[in-house]
């Protein structure tokens, strides 16, 4: 909104926004015949503002009308709880007709790309969510270059967008670019496996990678800490560029900054998914029932599910799209143009 806001104390900013918002509402709301012949009179306290502080609200309102779209890819060996996690994140049941292959059938399977689309609406906001699944990844005896179908898919979406963008009819461009890739790391290893390293290196310059520790309820807190440290070290060591949470603005309040710090320190998130409701301490919670206790998915002392959900949906969805457009797509586009000339 420009430097002039930085010098105004927060309370005053809120007030002026409210005043301007009300003004805009009056100006934009449908008027009766009588009102139209007599233009609205600006009140005194409204006259001092130009009124563009409400721009974010206008954008917000338009977007709400248009709806959002988001494409999320999930990758990792089979059996790491990817489908359950996706269903938990978006409170859906995307995989109810899925047929799981047995080991013999999987011997000759190649990596596929499968898309599921679902329209979700909450409090008037519409989200068109596309989940890109990668069954078969990492499951074979020989997994050499098993990420190739995946990099090919991502490139194809870039290519399609590039062509559309350069084309004549740009009104209804479909954006199928992958905005985020959740990569599931097995909790049973001691860190990254060779296939994990190779996958992430093949994709880190094409898509935002968010690595996760899957099925984290099989680890005790000290094991989770050690594993996270180990993974962070190895990500550094191998020069893997995972998605970086942006720095929060210096004028954010302390609570927000604290949350932001905790978020960064928890990466990679150790997650658990569940779509079943169990009874715990007289309450009904989403979780997993074991003979020795109940794991609550939304309990932050049990796992990082809430952090992941907040990050992915509530705070960083927009940034993920921005980085995809501004960095990954632009890289692709520049390469393409270079190759053409």
């Amino acid at each position: 909104l420009g430097p002039r806001w930085l010098s105004i104390p927060p309370a005053a900013v809120m007030d002026s926004i409210i005043i301007q918002e009300r003004l805009v509402e009056r100006l934009l709301s449908p008027r009766t015949q009588a009102q139209r012949s007599h233009p609205a009179k600006l009140k005194d306290h409204e006259k001092q503002y130009v009124g563009f502080a409400t721009l974010p609200n206008q954008v917000h309102r338009k977007s709400v009308k248009k709806g959002f779209d988001f494409t999320l890819m999930v990758a990792g060996e089979s059996g790491l709880g990817k489908s359950t996690l996706v269903n938990s994140l978006f409170l859906t049941d995307l995989y109810k007709d899925r047929k799981l292959l047995n080991a013999e059938e999987r011997i000759n399977q190649t990596v596929e790309i499968v898309k599921h689309t679902v329209d979700i609406e909450e409090k008037g906001v519409k989200l068109k969510l596309t989940i890109v699944d990668t069954p078969g990844f990492g499951d074979a005896v020989n997994n050499t270059e098993c990420w190739k179908p995946i990099t090919d898919y991502i490139d194809q979406q870039f290519e399609q967008y590039f062509r559309d963008e350069s084309g004549l009819n740009r009104k209804n461009i479909q954006d199928n670019r992958v905005h985020c890739c959740l990569y599931f790391i097995s909790p049973f290893g001691h860190g990254l496996r060779p296939v994990d390293v190779e996958f992430m290196k093949a994709l880190h310059e094409k898509v935002n990678i968010v690595p996760l520790i899957a099925k984290a309820d099989c680890l005790i807190p000290s094991e989770i800490r050690k594993l996270k440290e180990r993974i962070r070290e190895e990500i550094d060591k191998f020069g893997i560029k995972v998605y970086q949470f942006p720095e929060c603005d210096s004028d954010e309040d302390e609570e927000f900054k604290q949350q932001d710090r905790e978020l960064k320190e928890s990466a990679p998130f150790a997650v658990i998914g569940s779509n079943t409701v169990v009874e715990a301490k007289g309450q009904r919670v989403r979780g997993r029932l074991y003979p020795w206790g109940i794991v609550e998915v939304e309990n932050q002392a049990h796992c990082d599910f809430v952090k992941l959900r907040n990050m992915l949906i509530r705070t960083h969805m927009h940034d993920l799209k921005d980085v995809t457009c501004d960095v990954h797509y632009e890289n692709y586009r520049a390469q393409c143009i270079q190759q053409m000339t």
Binding site: S78, G79, N102, E104, D139, N142, S186, F188, D217
Partner: protein, 350 residues
């Protein structure tokens, strides 16, 4: 002619004992001609006691191999099984080492003692199995190692001047660790077990079973059992080696209901209900390793150590080793090194 399996059962047990020249029998023999029944108790049954005393003095060998992807808890489980620090993890191996590029075979021996009985336990670890991007034929070094031990034993057996007690490095039991995905076996699991179930006793276990609820565990076990059956994989205890009805009934129950054992391992103790138990402490409860309602570790331990330990060795000696030996005889038209004398010696000892 070489004695058949039935006779060599005792041979196997006796091979631990030092074959000594004939001594005075402990119980004086009754003079011939008198009806033994009339004179009461002979005391043949004390032979069992003699064997037991001998075994305690000489101790016995047990070689257990663990196979599975890294991080499935193999070392911890072996330590838990034998209540000692006997695995590679505890012998100065640095956990921070990289995954080896090919499968390595690392054997570590310890002597552990319990109730006056000494066991020379060798744990054979196979780091690098299943960890690469391309795992084709990664079972070959393992198969090679197992066959090499058979070869070593064979060479000793046919020697002219044989050692009193042939050191037994043959793998008696191979624990194969299945990853608890909850879906089914992986292609690599099938490949390994298909190749190796013919040369060694394989006991499949489901590792890190604390990642599954009771329902998930039951379903997974059923699916795994079915897959093993459909693919003709005979894990230990193999159906064809059940000796009598008693064995068959007992083993059927284990094969069809308990196996593969879903296990959890730990070397840390916690206080639960006033007792100290081995377990894992999570924010939502303590998983007790030896509690049968939590996991099947106790079943695995009883099976491998308390009931079937000797049988594992016997099947290895009488079946797997004999198969290897027969194949060698057929392939080379003879065993190395061979003279007519040796052949006679060999036969007369039987």
């Amino acid at each position: 002619p070489h004695a058949g399996p039935v006779d060599s059962k005792n041979e196997a047990a006796m091979s631990e004992l030092v074959p000594e020249p004939r001594q005075k029998p402990v119980v004086p023999m009754k003079p011939m001609g008198i009806n033994a029944n009339l004179l009461g108790y002979i005391g043949i049954d004390t032979i069992i006691e003699q064997m037991r005393k001998k075994t305690m003095k000489t101790g016995f060998d047990f070689n257990i191999m663990v196979v599975g992807q890294s991080g499935l808890g193999k070392s911890t489980l072996v330590n838990t099984l034998f209540k000692s620090q006997v695995s590679r993890k505890s012998s100065g191996w640095n956990r921070e080492e990289k995954i080896p590029k090919t499968v390595e075979i690392k054997a570590i021996g310890h002597v552990i003692e319990e109730g006056g009985v000494k066991m020379k336990l060798t744990v054979i670890d196979t780091p690098g199995f299943g960890d690469q991007i391309n795992n084709e034929n990664c079972w070959e070094p393992i198969e090679k190692y197992i066959n090499e031990q058979y070869e070593k034993f064979l060479k000793e057996e046919v020697n002219i001047a044989r050692k009193k007690r042939i050191p037994d490095t043959r793998v008696h039991c191979c624990l194969y660790f299945i990853s608890p995905t909850g879906h089914s076996l992986r292609p690599l699991d099938l490949e390994f077990m298909k190749h190796l179930s013919k040369v060694v006793n394989i006991i499949p276990v489901i590792a890190k079973a604390d990642t599954m609820t009771l329902e998930e565990k039951t379903e997974f076990k059923q699916r795994v059992r079915k897959e093993l059956e459909v693919n003709g994989i005979e894990f230990y205890p193999q159906k064809e080696f059940d000796e009598d009805l008693e064995d068959k009934t007992e083993n059927d129950k284990i094969r069809q209901e308990s196996m593969p054992f879903a296990v959890v391992g730990s070397d840390k103790e916690y206080q639960v209900n006033g007792k100290r138990v081995l377990g894992r402490k999570t924010p939502w409860g303590i998983i007790e390793v030896e509690n049968l309602s939590h996991c099947e570790f106790a079943l695995l331990r009883d099976f491998v150590i308390r009931t079937h330990l000797q049988d594992l060795k016997e099947v290895t000696h009488n079946i797997h080793y004999e198969t290897y030996r027969a194949k060698r005889l057929n392939d080379n038209g003879g065993l190395p090194p061979m003279t007519v004398e040796t052949e006679e010696n060999h036969e007369s000892n039987l």
